[in-house]
């Protein structure tokens, strides 16, 4: 109420405002309010009101209108309005009432709706029903597909399918109805009786049984869940371990190893900070490992594998790398471990010491061929003859004199040489480290850790001792030089890869050379493999061999060296690399040559013709000679039956039918077919097989017990279908194969819904009764 009143007052206020504003606003507002009839009406009223305000009060009276003349009872006119009158207008009520609107709406709705379709034909409906039912049934049947498939493909089917459930009889029940018959059994029973073991009476008392069974359901469930979880976890870990074990990636393993090493290092660092004594122990362990490594031959390329690789190393880059890796590992293991702070300085010193040496010694080696040659020393004790050759003045005079001592090694011993060299290298490395030890005192004064210092001093003493021994055996100079050489050999990997990069152009060149050589003749090619053998001869009388073969020989021997050495002087590289390639190519050529030679005298066509002639001869029917030597004349050794007799008793074979390949010069048609064998042979590939090899294989594998063990025989001769005699085989059931059978009865549905079909049946019955 209050709200409506408020609204009214507001309205009134509004009007007042209008009244006040009008004189000003009116001309403006007219245009605005033109459309608004209500406003206009109000406006009219207002005007009237204003006019009445004058006091003259000439209010207009309401006009009276009279009925039109044309009003008739027969029609209605709408004159004035200018519109045609429609019936619906008349029907329209004066006021629109809400109740009628609803009816109208309904009418509209009805109008918009289409007519209801005719119901489907009965047959049509039935057809739809059938289709739906068929689809449903097909779906139900499809669940049998896997079972049927499995049974069709099964190796063996044992009927009846449903297994009789074995009844669990407690042991005591079984035992009670059983007596010991054989002596063995009796003996066992005697023993049992002696020890008062229960035999026939229940093994457990009822109380015990009850207590055993006492675990509650919840407990059992929990226990089972636990076990399941444990099993799952275990299998998961197993699977993971297996997976990881399977990874073949070298990279992965490398990373893994690296990671482990890093971890170990970190731990070691930590340990050093926290517990220096333990760290030292660790160090000692490392030292021990090193000692073990030194003692063992594990990574020294002396095993079977290493030897095989050494043979391959000549041709196979990978093998070479593998060997190098192995050696690197060895080195790594044998590296002397020093306390970190010391060793860094130490090494710096050693390098500083080493570097100035290098050029001198290298130069020395290259210039002075005979004097302090390290290779010579190695071979000195083993091969005195070679040493003699080295001493030969002619050899020395040669321009490539620096390589001469190396040329003494021979092809066949390459592998051993490699190994020997490796050993040498390692030894030299060790000695170098020994030198370092000597040099150590300079830096070692700065060591802080007293305990480590003690150990180090011990080590130092040891190394000095070693060094002294070395001194005794060999001269100090030599050892130092060797170490330098070792340093040279130890050049970084970058340099090792250089030859690889260099190889290509060199190779091309050598190929060109080879072609030229080929023109010269195969004499040189033959020379090459022989070179090793001939080497000895040449060495004995060096005067008679000329420059070219010598060069060859040297080159060849260079190859070995190149393979042996892990480092090469640049001057050697240019020579050594091409020679290897050359050798390989020449080998190839050699083989080609050999093939050519092997097929040199081959005249395939003539051979074929000969073969054909032979085949024709063989297929011709043979004459039969029936002469009996000694019959009617003298016979014996060296005596032949007379020609006359032979002619007389020779039965000429009739001419056979013409050969089919008579007019085919380049074909031999063999008309022989063993019909006796063919009668037993399969002519066409039988159905399930797709290739004749498959079939042949099945035929060739014997299944008898003569060729197979009993177990295999039984398996091979297993019958496809096994039935038990006297057992009824029931149709397969859903339960047999683990499906849930439909619990609902087949009948229940039929009985539940009264069917139209049954109604029809009733009708029919009625009809019948009428009849």
């Amino acid at each position: 109420m209050s709200s409506s009143r408020a609204a009214e007052s507001l309205l009134a206020l509004n009007q007042q405002e209008e009244l006040e504003d009008l004189p000003r606003e009116y001309p403006l507002s007219t245009s605005e309010d033109e459309g608004d009839s209500d406003g206009e009406r109000k406006h009219q009223k207002l005007l009237e009101a204003i006019s009445s305000l004058d006091g003259k009060n000439r209010r207009k009276l309401a006009e009276r209108s009279e009925a039109s003349l044309k009003v008739s009872e027969f029609n209605v006119s709408s004159e004035g309005s200018g519109e045609k009158l429609v019936l619906s207008d008349l029907l329209e009520p004066v006021k629109t009432s809400s109740s009628l609107a609803a009816v109208k709406k309904q009418l509209n709705r009805v109008k918009s709706k289409k007519t209801v379709e005719l119901p489907l034909h009965r047959e049509e409906i039935e057809r739809i029903h059938r289709e739906v039912a068929f689809n449903k049934t097909s779906q139900v049947l499809s669940k049998w597909d896997p079972v049927v498939q499995k049974n069709r493909q099964a190796e063996q089917l044992v009927f009846p399918l449903s297994k009789q459930q074995s009844v669990f009889a407690p042991i005591e029940h079984v035992v009670s109805g059983w007596k010991a018959r054989t002596p063995l059994e009796q003996e066992i029973f005697n023993l049992l009786h002696k020890n008062k073991q229960p035999v026939t009476d229940p093994l457990l008392t009822p109380m015990e049984k009850a207590s055993l069974k006492a675990m509650s359901l919840e407990e059992v469930k929990m226990r089972r869940a636990e076990l399941q979880r444990a099993r799952a976890l275990q299998s998961y870990y197993e699977a993971r371990a297996r997976r990881e074990k399977k990874i073949k990636s070298k990279k992965y393993h490398k990373l893994l190893k690296k990671g482990k090493a890093k971890q170990a290092l970190k731990e070691f660092e930590k340990l050093r900070k926290v517990n220096p004594a333990a760290a030292l122990e660790e160090l000692e362990k490392l030292e021990k490992a090193r000692m073990m490594e030194r003692m063992s031959l594990k990574h020294q390329n002396s095993g079977k594998w290493a030897k095989s690789k050494a043979i391959m190393a000549k041709y196979d880059l990978e093998a070479r790398q593998a060997m190098q890796e192995q050696l690197a590992r060895n080195k790594e293991l044998m590296q002397k471990i020093q306390v970190a702070s010391e060793s860094a300085e130490e090494e710096g010193v050693a390098e500083e010491e080493g570097e100035p040496f290098v050029p001198d010694v290298v130069n020395e080696v290259q210039v002075k061929a005979s004097g302090p040659n390290p290779w010579m020393f190695r071979n000195h004790s083993s091969d005195t003859k070679e040493a003699e050759v080295q001493g030969d003045p002619e050899e020395l005079a040669e321009p490539a004199a620096q390589e001469a001592p190396e040329s003494e090694e021979e092809g066949p011993v390459v592998a051993e040489e490699i190994l020997l060299k490796e050993f040498e290298e390692r030894r030299s490395l060790r000695q170098k480290s020994g030198l370092k030890q000597i040099a150590k005192p300079v830096g070692s004064q700065e060591t802080k850790d007293p305990s480590s210092q003690g150990v180090l001093s011990e080590l130092r003493a040891l190394s000095q001792k070693l060094n002294r021994e070395n001194h005794q055996s060999r001269k100090q100079e030599l050892s130092s030089k060797r170490t330098v050489l070792a340093v040279q050999r130890e050049e970084p990997a970058g340099e090792e890869e250089e030859p690889l990069l260099l190889q290509r152009p060199e190779r091309a060149r050598t190929l060109d050379e080879l072609e030229e050589l080929g023109k010269e003749g195969c004499f040189q090619n033959k020379e090459l493999p022989r070179a090793a053998v001939e080497g000895q001869q040449w060495e004995r009388n060096p005067s008679n061999h000329l420059g070219v073969p010598k060069e060859k020989k040297r080159k060849e021997q260079m190859i070995d060296l190149q393979n042996l050495l892990t480092t090469k002087s640049p001057s050697m590289k240019s020579l050594a690399v091409p020679t290897t390639e050359e050798l390989e190519d020449e080998e190839e050529r050699d083989q080609r040559q050999m093939i050519k030679e092997a097929f040199a005298g081959d005249d395939v066509i003539r051979d074929f013709l000969k073969e054909k002639r032979e085949a024709v001869e063989a297929s011709k029917p043979k004459d039969v000679d029936l002469t009996l030597p000694g019959w009617g004349e003298w016979g014996g050794v060296g005596l032949k039956p007379s020609a006359k007799k032979r002619r007389r008793f020779l039965i000429k074979a009739p001419e056979g039918p013409p050969r089919k390949d008579e007019n085919l010069p380049n074909v031999i048609l063999s008309e022989k077919r063993n019909i006796h064998a063919a009668a037993h042979q399969v002519r066409m590939l039988p159905y399930p097989f797709t290739h004749h090899q498959q079939f042949e294989r099945t035929i060739q594998t014997p299944i008898g017990s003569t060729w197979n063990t009993q177990r295999a025989f039984q398996k091979l001769t297993m019958p496809k279908v096994v039935t038990k005699p006297g057992h009824i085989i029931k149709p397969i059931k859903a339960e047999d194969v683990g499906y849930r059978s439909s619990s609902r009865s087949d009948l229940s549905v039929v009985q539940r819904n009264p069917k139209r079909l049954s109604i029809r049946h009733k009708k029919q019955l009625k009809k019948n009764s009428v009849d």
């Binding site: 059938r130 049934t137 049927v148 008898g704 063990t709 009865s745």
Partner: protein, 445 residues
């Protein structure tokens, strides 16, 4: 010093009991046993020959009926019991081990059209030409009692076949329509028709037990669903199907015995093409029954022979006939899958072995191993011409033999004609229809 000497573990050669076989040490080195293929081939050949020598399938003839045997039924619980109905309305129950008739009932007037046992084996049902369905007790009446059926249902039309549900107290009859009956009621709980023609046989699916198959004389096979009480689908073949049989191991497979001398194995989900057409008979096939293993079936034919077909082969592996056996009307494979029974026109029921050369009775393990080995050898070398020829060789009565020849000629002529037609018409205008599809006229949804 160690002296090397022979040492043998007694475990490897001493028997545990004296009944054990002596262990024979063998050397399986293949070089010691050369020529394995030829040797096995000879063994296979011998096995095949022996199989033919021992192939004597005929076991017994049960005589006693006074008219042609029209239907047979197996006992669901007892292997030794067989029921048979004759054309004079007589039903006999036989004991196979004694080979004697143990019970005889005059069940109907006129033909006994169908007979089936209840799944529990306590009673059986018969339908006859006298428009009745009768339920009988399996054991005969006790002393002094009269032989009377447990129930008799008088129908309005002739029933031509009957089959009992595999699990429930429900049976189905056929005639003008397929009726499903509750054993307790005298009116059918549901009856299903599709078209108007006489239905000659109805069979429950043994696995999905709500399914039924029937065949009518208007050449069609109709499948029904008992639960939804509707027919499902209908396939119309070239000629009339006499009876069908469901595979007891494969729920959706059934085989139809047709008048056109062939049998058709269908997958009921795809009726437009039969899975296999089995042809060998030379006259209408009257009955078919599956082996309980579902691997073979046996068919009885008007050509006085029965044939055994593997399910997946189109040719029969065996044909049984005797001089005295006339048109074979019904056939059954016993539930242990060892024997076959057939009832024929000349009033006899014959008992055959399912495997013609099988040795009956208990086999020792060595015998069993030998037969298994021989069987496997025969299988292995089955494609070799000699073995194939011997194993396929059967003696046939002259009538069948000449019929086969004749039909071969006819078939060849037909084939040639088709080829010629294809050859002499515009390419693509004449389509070659496969033998399987040729026989299916239509599938009606």
């Amino acid at each position: 010093m160690k002296v090397k000497m022979l040492s043998r573990n007694p475990d490897s050669y001493v028997r545990e009991t004296k009944l054990d076989l002596q262990r024979v040490p063998r050397n399986y080195d293949p070089t010691l046993h050369p020529f394995e293929v030829p040797r096995e081939y000879v063994r296979a050949l011998n096995a095949t020959k022996l199989e033919r020598v021992f192939a004597k399938p005929f076991l017994a003839s049960l005589d006693g009926h006074r008219d042609g045997v029209s239907c047979l039924a197996k006992h669901p619980k007892s292997l030794a019991t067989v029921l048979s109905g004759a054309c004079d309305g007589e039903v006999r129950i036989w004991n196979l081990t004694k080979r004697k008739c143990i019970h005889m009932i005059q069940a109907h007037e006129g033909f006994v059209r169908g007979i089936c046992t209840r799944f529990c084996g306590t009673s059986f049902f018969t339908v006859g030409d006298d428009k009745t369905v009768k339920q009988w007790k399996m054991d005969g009446p006790s002393f002094g009692e009269e032989e009377e059926p447990l129930h008799t249902i008088l129908g309005k039309t002739v029933y031509t076949g009957i089959d009992h549900h595999w699990k429930e107290a429900v049976f189905a009859t056929c005639g003008q329509q397929v009726d499903i009956w509750d054993e307790q009621r005298s009116s059918p709980i549901c009856s299903m028709t599709w078209g108007f023609d006489s239905i000659s046989s109805v069979k429950f699916n043994p696995i999905e037990t709500f399914l039924l198959g029937s065949c009518a004389s208007d050449r069609n096979i109709v499948l029904y669903d008992m639960r939804q009480a509707t027919p499902l689908k209908k396939v119309i073949l070239d000629m009339r199907t006499n009876t069908i049989c469901w595979n007891p191991m494969e729920a959706f497979i059934f085989t139809a015995a047709n008048e056109d001398y062939n049998l058709y194995t269908f997958d009921m989900r795809a009726l437009d093409t039969p899975v296999m057409v089995h042809m060998d008979h030379v006259s209408a096939v009257l009955d078919v029954d599956y082996s309980p293993t579902g691997k073979d079936f046996v068919s009885a034919s008007f050509d006085k022979s029965i044939r055994i077909f593997p399910v997946d082969k189109s040719r029969s592996r065996e044909v049984y006939h005797t001089k005295r056996m006339q048109h074979v009307i019904c056939v059954k494979w016993t539930s242990d899958s060892k024997y076959i029974m057939c009832g024929s026109d000349e009033m006899n029921i014959r008992l055959w072995k399912a495997n013609a050369s099988e040795k009956l009775g208990v086999l020792t393990s060595r015998e069993k191993a030998a037969t298994d080995y021989n069987q496997r050898l025969k299988e292995k070398f089955q494609h070799h011409p000699h073995i194939k020829r011997i194993s396929r060789h059967r003696h046939l009565p002259k009538s069948i033999y000449s019929q086969i020849q004749e039909q071969r000629v006819m078939k060849e002529a037909r084939r040639r004609k088709e080829l010629n037609r294809i050859k002499h018409s515009k390419p693509g205008s004449v389509q070659r229809v496969s033998e399987k599809k040729k026989r299916v006229v239509a599938v009606v949804k």
